[in-house]
Homo-oligomer: 668 residues x 2
Amino acid sequence: MTGIKQTRRATVTFRPHGAVARVPAGATLLDAAADAGVQIDAPCGGQGRCGRCKVRVEGPVVQRPHGHLSRAETEAGVVLACQTLADGDVAVTVPPPRERRQRPRGHAVAQPEALPLSCDWRQDPAVRTFAVDIEPPSLLDNTSDFDRLRRALGQQHGIKELRAELPILRRLSHDLRAAAWKVNVTLEMRDWVYGTYLPPRLIRVYPSAFGQRSMGLAVDLGTTSVVVYLVDFTTARVVDTASAYNKQISCGDDVISRIVYAQRPGGLGRLQRLAVETINELLMELQERNRIELYEIHEVAVAGNTTMTHLLLGLDPRYLRQEPYIPTVSVPPKLVAGELGLRTNALARVHGMPAIGSYVGGDITAGVISSGMFATDKLTVFIDIGTNGEMVLGNKDWLVACACSAGPAFEGGGVGCGMRATAGAVEDVWIDSRTLEPTFRTVDAAPPRGICGSGLIDLVAELFTTGVVDKGGRFDRSLATPRVRETEFGREYVLVWGDESADGLDIAVSEADVNSLLRAKAAVYAGIATLCRGVGVDLADVEQFLIGGAFGEYIDVEKGIRIGLLPDLPAQRFSFLGNTSAMGAYTALLCVNMRHEVLDVAAKMTYLELSADNTFMDEYTSALFLPHTDIEAFPTVARLLREAGIDGDPAGARDTPRDAIGPVKEDV
Amino acid sequence: MTGIKQTRRATVTFRPHGAVARVPAGATLLDAAADAGVQIDAPCGGQGRCGRCKVRVEGPVVQRPHGHLSRAETEAGVVLACQTLADGDVAVTVPPPRERRQRPRGHAVAQPEALPLSCDWRQDPAVRTFAVDIEPPSLLDNTSDFDRLRRALGQQHGIKELRAELPILRRLSHDLRAAAWKVNVTLEMRDWVYGTYLPPRLIRVYPSAFGQRSMGLAVDLGTTSVVVYLVDFTTARVVDTASAYNKQISCGDDVISRIVYAQRPGGLGRLQRLAVETINELLMELQERNRIELYEIHEVAVAGNTTMTHLLLGLDPRYLRQEPYIPTVSVPPKLVAGELGLRTNALARVHGMPAIGSYVGGDITAGVISSGMFATDKLTVFIDIGTNGEMVLGNKDWLVACACSAGPAFEGGGVGCGMRATAGAVEDVWIDSRTLEPTFRTVDAAPPRGICGSGLIDLVAELFTTGVVDKGGRFDRSLATPRVRETEFGREYVLVWGDESADGLDIAVSEADVNSLLRAKAAVYAGIATLCRGVGVDLADVEQFLIGGAFGEYIDVEKGIRIGLLPDLPAQRFSFLGNTSAMGAYTALLCVNMRHEVLDVAAKMTYLELSADNTFMDEYTSALFLPHTDIEAFPTVARLLREAGIDGDPAGARDTPRDAIGPVKEDV
């Protein structure tokens, strides 16, 4: 930075650190930060491609063109540090490093503000607690304890009828006397059968002296992860959340292997217990942290895919897997927590979200509800991607859904160095188009151990647009980089050398791995395309593209488009909704009318069985390329390739030397 | 029969035996029968008091006056053999010996003819089975199994909605496929909550090839005995019955000792299981005898007293016993057999008869229904006597009920030689007023082992009207018979000498035993009297006096009146209804409208708590005499005593020598 020839210099001050760098005028702010020892997030290595090195600047700067900032950001003085040159003394405010994956997955927590506007939780709560002052019995008034309670509820709260089940009646006489006839009575107020509301149902009787705490539990019962929300019924707020891997993983990673496991003697029972144990352990966690009693949890809503719902209820899942793929029930039956073994109040009603078919389950109807898709005019796609991809197309008037098997690639399975998105998983990747050297980031910033689904999407997108991999997913044989090498199993790209990895082994991605991802993304894209074709809608006309599910949260839209997983729509049409399954359960837990709504949604939604649909296979075959056979459907990717000088055609058919490829200019 | 002096002789021919006796003219037909070796039932020993030696006679006879025959009998030529003298050659037809106690107690079986006229079992059955032909699923029609079944039921039988619980759903997918989609579906059609009928509920799904057998179970859950009826729903007939002692007897003979037992750790659970085991063992018996499967039993109705109902349901009975004697529930909650552990179809609905109070239970409301009392204009008393006596007074417009503790005397308890009415129990007794020698009969004609309740009533009635016992229940000290003797515990009457008894010991009844019976009968009578007084009705105006319950079946009305257990009403006003509890359960099992009716009856009936009623204690004290302090209330007994020359006043205050008392003339 100092030299014989005095050049014009600039002072760059970094806030809030207070560090200062003296740099030649024209240096990037990113370089200045490196000089000053200030860390700025820039996973693409300063190529202006990732858009992550946003800072706020005051003072004279020159900006290179790029497409990563909104108008509001520009007006607020936000710039990309790597594409902004100091043209004098400037002050740079660096935002705190983005917290990523600090919380376990699926922890994006809904709150009352997220509830649909039509939610009735204040006016029409499903569960209510009443203080009742009961006249003690005498020889002259020998009314039974239950009728006495009922009479007092009628006189004091206008509640004329009351239902009770055996378990609460077995304690009732004792409970009333222990409370000296002054009790709080928790009732399920809004229980219905086919449109008929039933009289309130007794859930709990306890001394009024104890106060009136009333909680609910929303459960996202995922194949991999289970997330629970503890909800305070008086405020509708999520008081706490907890999550854990589904203990059923010990019986198989995916729904198919669990269905197979359920066929073993005792297998179904074991899976049922494991699902319940998973939830129960989370309950213990919530109980300890929040100093609640589990019997204060008076109602439960569960969203899960059809297999998970069957396993939780102990329903035989065998026919979900056998053609023609038929669930036992779509709408889970009326039941209480005690029937399943859940350790909430045993009389807490358990509401399961309704399914559409064997592969479009309650997690999806929950998503349609919580996303607001069921009530919008806009042509909307909702997708939830995991081992299976489920997608719904429609608006408030009509809905059509399908599901496809993506295979395990998105969840890090079936890939040589694949892993789930836990500590040490590479989750995003940038490749320098000149050196073909990668920059990457791992979950929890732990030493790299493997690559997860979103990391694989990133890596393949980068390999494609840096010309390492062609549109057919084959590695270029002509590259002069040690990262691309030949093994006995074929060619691979070494993402992490053994000396940097957690276990000393190279982390590499092979052609076979790339093909796994191609099949996965082709299935998802073909599903969406088939839905559109089925109802005669042009994919380009989709006004909202809503991405739900835990995995979806971590997809980079631009890279998802680049590999042809997502359709090439303007960025602003995409929204990441987080754990829509949990949020749907939360909505149904609080809003009685949303429980009706979700049944209407389920009744209204048309299920398209892809295995009965020839269009799907055609779409799938066309989508087995990067980004797609029909490059016209991906104009921004086509431009990117053009700008990078890559035709994407089979490697080796090209003869342009790698060195001749200039830096990729990004203005997507 | 032959002698020097030829007297006029008569030939008496007995039919159907064909035996012939040549006797002096003027001999009784009973003596002639003894001569001919023909057995005629005559427990009173030929005194004309029991009225049991009825025969039909053709030929010249002379009859002594007595009051045992109806006009119809007289017209048909029926006479009492002991009071009829052959006045020439006659032919006597002897009926077959009356079968008594050949069946176990409580086996008087209701049949459809006994159902109330308004019973709706044909038009509005509670359980129905439908044959349904379901379209198998395909890729183009992926409706869930449950919805597919529902759809077919709608199309083929007009049943639009359907409810199902977890247990049946857990088997549904398998069951439908195992039946190749041609199934019989058994539904609970008439399930309601507070007046609202709910959609049909799935009880069973099975191949239509198996036929459509559908059964129900009516249960009388008594403290001592449990009786079950197996009912064929297609014919309403009772196919078979079975009965056994309540296994809870191992935890105490009466309700109070069981309530005490329930307070022990695990005691309530044990009692609950024992009640269920008792019924389950009877079910096994029915299954074996009738070659049915227990899951073909689709509905259950249970009548029992309030304690038995609480114990069957596992409800804490503690407060039934503690003043002010409050049940947990009067109307048993909605439940299915599986919740209790009954081995019928686990989804069979269990209907418990509603109670009025802690000591007027579902057995009594069942009795009110099955007796028709709830629908009559006539002023009616219904009583059910056992350890507790329950009594209901009223008609179709109003009903008032009470209960009193009779103590164990009627069930053979608390009496030195008392026993339950099993083989060898003395069940009726006649005492020769001249010799004071008894004639008796035992259950199953077994060697005597003790005396049961009805035997004790008979014995005391006889001791009273033969002057052995005075109206205060004391033994006459002046009698010259070895049967009355002094022991270290006071005086007693020896009914059976050791050389005739089963175990070689004398069977005797002491003053203390007589007093036990006095207290028991006084409680019952005082209960009836208190009810009448409470509503301002004269006991003499009671138009029907209905006696229900297993014990009631064996009471001799005349002797019941003689000791002051029953009011002194004309014989034709009394009816013995048999096991009204079982019959009520049977009625409710078959007739949906009777289930409503019994709830109306329970709601309408006023419960009079005797322990809060001073009248009762007065009535009780007055009734602690034979037959009563107020002999005016028992005119037929007064006449009987007059005719017997007995004033009934304390023994020893009399000085008429015993021998001077002539034969008792009976024309009651």
